[in-house]
């Protein structure tokens, strides 16, 4: 049988295989039913089209998924990323806001696109710092206070949106400062800025994880925390690093999202991102129990989620009803990844060879 060639088997066992198959299926579906999907055009010197939209929209999710991958690889989970996005984006908006506190933004302020309270670099630094601190807090709770990851991050998930509202004094902050919009809406060489940011963070993460021993430590903590400790690796610091990095990724996502929307609503920005990020990681084939992980697979996972979403938008499915479609997608993925399905599929593909030998 042709299917039994080692190449196919090797492909099947590669962790990028299933995510790529899923992505390809969605693309094929699009190619058949909505030919306009792949059309790319040039407008104002940059590319536009559905594919670019997919990349631009999925950038925050990709970032969050990167951080989430490391956290899940240590055997934990970070439920607070949505709240971290809200907090860090909120910090940025408050700093930009030309008038302090509860004062109303007048029309004169709104009309001036370059009015800001703080220089842009400071806004970016504080945004990133806020998210990183949130991650550090999670990391300290998990690694030092020994609270189970789900509960520890649940605290920030519940309280975080409250904190974000506190920062913004319960208002939806509209941003009028034009340079800030560059992160979510700008283009470099015809491609969205957010894609470059994702690439940058990915390279940083990849170098940290694959070119130093941190990646190995993370995997070993996820596989067996205790034995890692006995082999002389500070499993606490590995966990602390993973959560802090996740917070940092959430902050970058918050920066892009806030600048993309032009307004920060503490209750809705980054809503359900924790769930989507976990999905992306799971679709990428990283086990929830921790252990081996692949950053690229998680990014593809995020891409799958958004390609699916935009495809559904094209077909006129309402955004809210899409939740059910997404759930079905996840159900399929879960079934594909479950041990039963894996055994079943492998048997289905491998069965014919040995059986022939046996019967002959």
């Amino acid at each position: 049988m042709k299917n039994n060639t080692p190449l196919f088997k090797r492909m099947r066992e590669n962790r990028l295989f299933w995510p790529l198959v899923a992505l390809a299926l969605i693309f094929i579906f699009n190619a058949i039913f909505s030919p306009g999907f792949f059309k790319l055009g040039i407008l104002d010197g940059h590319l536009y089209g559905n594919l670019i939209d997919v990349f631009n929209n999925s950038a925050p999710l990709m970032l969050v998924a990167l951080g989430m991958t490391l956290v899940i690889a240590t055997g934990g989970v970070d439920l607070s990323v949505g709240a971290v996005i809200a907090i860090s984006a909120g910090m940025g908006a408050v700093l930009i806001n030309p008038v302090f506190g509860n004062e109303e933004i007048t029309n004169a302020v709104a009309a001036d696109p370059n009015l800001t309270n703080t220089p842009l670099w400071l806004v970016v630094v504080v945004t990133l710092l806020a998210g990183t601190l949130c991650g550090l807090w999670n990391g300290i709770l998990v690694s030092r206070a020994k609270i189970s990851p789900m509960v520890a991050t649940l605290i920030l998930m519940v309280a975080g949106r409250g904190i974000a509202q506190l920062i913004e004094r319960g208002q939806i902050m509209t941003v009028y400062y034009t340079p800030y919009f560059w992160f979510g809406n700008g283009f470099i060489l015809g491609l969205p800025v957010s894609m470059y940011i994702v690439a940058l963070v990915y390279i940083i993460a990849w170098v940290l994880v694959r070119k130093t021993s941190i990646g190995l430590f993370i995997e070993s903590v996820g596989l067996n925390s205790k034995s890692t400790y006995y082999s002389g690796i500070s499993e606490k610091n590995v966990k602390l690093f993973a959560y802090t990095f996740c917070g940092f990724c959430g902050a970058v996502a918050g920066l892009i999202l806030g600048s993309y929307i032009h307004a920060i609503d503490a209750n809705n920005i980054g809503l359900n991102y924790e769930l989507d990020a976990i999905f992306a990681v799971v679709i990428g084939g990283t086990l929830m129990s921790g252990g081996r992980f692949s950053l690229l697979a998680s990014i593809i996972g995020a891409l799958i989620i958004w390609t699916f979403t935009i495809t559904m938008y094209i077909f006129g499915v309402p955004a809210n009803a899409l939740l059910a479609g997404r759930a079905v997608l996840v159900l399929v993925v879960i079934l594909l990844y479950s041990d039963y399905a894996r055994v079943f599929l492998n048997r289905l593909v491998d069965r014919k060879g040995p059986r022939h030998d046996a019967t002959n």
Binding site: V77, A145, K146, I147, S148, M150, V151, L154, I155, L156, M157, V158, A159, G160, R161, G162, I163, Q165, L166, G170, A266, L275, I278, F279, V282, M288, S289, P318, N320, A321, L322, L323, A324, G325, R326, A327, V328, V330, L331, I334, L335, S338, D339, Y340, A341
Partner: protein, 326 residues
């Protein structure tokens, strides 16, 4: 004798702390805002947290087996939307309620089966459940549907006067939670099912080796969770007299926080249902203090609940460590 008292305190420490904190918070509220001393404010807690209490009771059992059910809020929204849509067609309201409860149980069984037989993390399965139920609710209706059924209106608007208290009243749906609580206490403490739930939470492997019906119990627990969410959904739609897919946002977190504040450990096997009642009441008290204050904003509720959860986890681990040492 002192040894026995000590043991009692250690065993029931988290529960007693929860009750103590509830009393303290309520007393502080009463001192700050004298109007909070009125009995009606106390009964309002039950009216306002009616569906949260029901959901939290189901959640307690799920958490006791070391699982988690994130789909509860979605189930509430789906129940409200579905029952509103069916009632518009003029179907008998009692039949609608029974249908909704069956739907909840069936959904719970489906979730439990996937969790147990396909060995998928409960967290992921129920997350999918949350998305699925909310999505289905939005497929049923994209806007809020009003319920005009006379039976639902009767249930929603009839005041039950409390004996011995002047002017104090409850609504019929707010009695469902306390009644369910009695059933839940009976289930947890006095039935084989309850003991099996605790055993599974402590160690599923040992429970299996002891010959306990792990599969049946686990699926039953999720079915009970689904039943509770559907029941909460019915109560919710009665109290609002409408149905919409976006209702009860984030209630799964409130429920989990209430269960944790009530002294149930998320690692499974430790905790009890009565604590959950007080967890829910603390949640309600914080909300009503904020309402009485008026100037404090709603975000303090979330921060308050977060801080309380943190404090309680600290208290729990303290008691747990003490118990281990003694």
């Amino acid at each position: 004798m002192t040894q026995r008292i000590k043991l009692f305190l250690l065993n029931n420490g988290p529960l007693l702390t929860t009750i103590l904190i509830f009393v303290l918070v309520y007393y502080a509220g009463g001192q700050l805002y004298p109007k909070m001393q009125k009995p009606q404010v106390f009964f309002n807690l039950f009216i306002n947290t009616a569906s949260l209490l029901i959901v939290s009771i189901g959640m307690t059992f799920v958490i006791l087996t070391k699982g988690i059910d994130l789909s509860v809020a979605g189930m509430i929204a789906l129940t409200s939307a579905a029952s509103a849509a069916i009632l518009l067609k003029g179907v008998n309201p009692v039949l609608v309620m029974i249908l909704m409860l069956l739907m909840g149980i069936a959904f719970g069984i489906a979730q439990g089966s996937i969790i147990h037989y396909l060995k998928v993390e409960p967290f992921i399965v129920t997350l999918m459940g949350l998305f699925f139920t909310r999505g289905m609710a939005f497929i049923i209706t994209l806007s809020s549907l009003t319920i005009k059924d006379p039976f639902y209106r009767y249930l929603a608007l009839t005041k039950l006067h409390i004996p011995f208290f002047e002017k104090a009243y409850l609504y019929i749906p707010s009695l469902v939670g306390p009644l369910l609580l009695l059933v839940a206490v009976y289930l947890a403490k006095f039935t084989r099912f309850g003991r099996t739930v605790y055993a599974i939470g402590n160690s599923e492997q040992s429970a299996m080796l002891m010959g306990l019906p792990v599969a049946r119990t686990k699926i039953a627990v999720y079915a009970f969770g689904g039943f509770c969410s559907a029941l909460a959904g019915i109560v919710f739609s009665i109290s609002l007299l409408s149905g919409y897919g976006g209702y009860a946002p984030g209630m799964e977190l409130d429920a989990i926080a209430s269960v944790v504040i009530g002294g149930t450990m998320l690692t499974g096997g430790v905790g009890n249902v009565i604590g959950t009642l007080f967890g829910v009441l603390i949640n309600g008290t914080i909300v009503s203090i904020l309402q009485f204050n008026g100037t404090l904003s709603s975000w303090w509720t979330r921060i308050g609940v977060g801080v309380l959860t943190l404090v309680f986890i600290g208290i729990q681990s303290l008691f747990y460590m003490r118990k281990k040492h003694s």
